[in-house]
């Protein structure tokens, strides 16, 4: 599952991933989930990057917790410039254990589609 440049707003759960297929959520806005924005279970390990998480009850939940591999979630904005709460020490949206949230953005760092393509090209080169 690949999600890019999309808006998830006021869903109970924005994205729920079960199983170990590759998944990536990038350059998207995830707002006001009344339960959890992204939840990963049974080996799901999505890559989260350049996303904004604001106003969610829980931003990211890794069902495996600290015992399994961490969900890569760097370069995201967690709704506060000091980073996520929960497993983090900031005042932003909470994350569970098993989420690799550093470094984070101090404000929204969503890229335009063109910048995203440029970065992808740079990675290939």
């Amino acid at each position: 599952m690949i999600v890019g440049h999309s808006v998830f707003e006021s869903n109970v759960r924005h994205v729920r991933l079960v199983g170990n297929a590759p998944a990536r959520i990038h350059d998207s806005v995830l707002l006001f989930a009344s339960d959890v924005a992204v939840t990963a279970a049974e080996g799901a390990l999505p890559r989260l990057e350049y996303d904004d998480f604001v106003g969610n009850l829980l931003a990211v939940r890794n069902r495996a917790g600290a015992s399994g591999p961490a969900i890569p979630a760097s370069n995201c904005f967690w709704g506060s410039e000091d980073g996520p709460s929960g497993a983090g020490r900031g005042k932003g949206d909470p994350v569970s254990d098993g989420v690799d949230f550093a470094p984070w953005c101090r404000q929204s760092c969503i890229r335009t589609a063109r910048a995203d393509e440029r970065d992808a090209q740079r990675r290939v080169e």
């Binding site: 994205v15 991933l17 079960v18």
Partner: protein, 252 residues
């Protein structure tokens, strides 16, 4: 006043003075149209199934189906600004099936811009299946009230490979009020700039399929997108006010 206006005026005066004659005329016209509908393979019958086995193009019409619309191998139905009401007292009394080798094209009227619509006309919900080897296009088309359970979920596309048919597309379409908006089984499909509202199960359901959803707008669904053992790409989507936005399961 030119001659045409004079003629119109005379006709109006005649209608005003002789209502019985006008009524009789309307009745005769209705009977003629009904006979044509009953006899012509280019229009649905008044009752029963409508089997399309030749190329048919219909534009700017409102039609009622009280049975199954079947597009057979070798048949093609090109609807341009047509409103199709599928009427039945029970779920499944009316439905659409595009069989392998059949073609269904639904698009707006080139003359008026009016959209083609498939809608539930009676109490029952209608089925809508595109079978393996069929070809179809939904362009700025509305599908309302399709599907009622897991076996008849709404528009279901089976065994379709978009790579083998450049025509297969769902673009700027609107799905509302059925069981599931679009169900893909072992298919690959692109859905662009389309809107989904208020289905009982989900807006889009994928089973062993591949889909690219671009600029879709999905709201007020129990589950917006459910993908099981499938490949899913969402780009520029707006997914709001649902139970679950996206649910991706790769093993059960």
């Amino acid at each position: 006043m030119n001659r045409m206006n004079v003629m119109r005026r005379v006709a109006l005066v005649d209608l005003g003075r002789r209502p019985r004659a006008a009524t009789v005329g309307v009745l005769v016209a209705a009977v003629v149209l009904a006979s044509v509908a009953a006899a012509s393979p280019h229009l649905p019958p008044l009752e029963g199934d409508w089997v399309v086995s030749t190329p048919i193009v219909l534009a700017d019409a409102s039609l009622t189906i009280r049975g199954q619309l079947v597009v057979e191998n070798g048949g093609s139905l090109d609807l341009r600004g047509v409103s199709l009401s599928l009427e039945g007292n029970g779920d499944g009394d009316a439905g659409i099936e595009v069989r392998g080798g059949g073609v269904l094209l639904a698009r707006p009227s080139p003359a008026t811009g009016r959209r083609t619509r498939f809608r539930r006309g009676g109490r029952g919900r209608f089925s809508f299946a595109v079978r393996r080897g069929a070809d179809f296009l939904l362009d700025r088309t509305v599908v309302a009230g399709a599907g009622w359970d897991e076996a008849h979920p709404g528009l279901i596309v089976e065994g379709y490979d978009a790579g083998q048919s450049p025509r297969l597309r769902i673009v700027q379409a609107e799905f509302r009020g059925g069981f599931t908006g679009v169900t893909l089984r072992e298919s690959s499909l692109a859905i662009a700039a389309s809107r989904f509202r208020r289905h009982r199960k989900a807006a889009v359901a994928l089973d062993r399929s591949s889909a690219v959803l671009t600029a879709v707008d999905i709201r007020e669904e129990r589950t917006a997108i459910q993908a099981t053992r499938s490949t899913l790409t969402i780009e520029g989507g707006w997914i709001a006010e649902n139970g679950t936005g996206g649910r991706h399961v790769t093993r059960r």
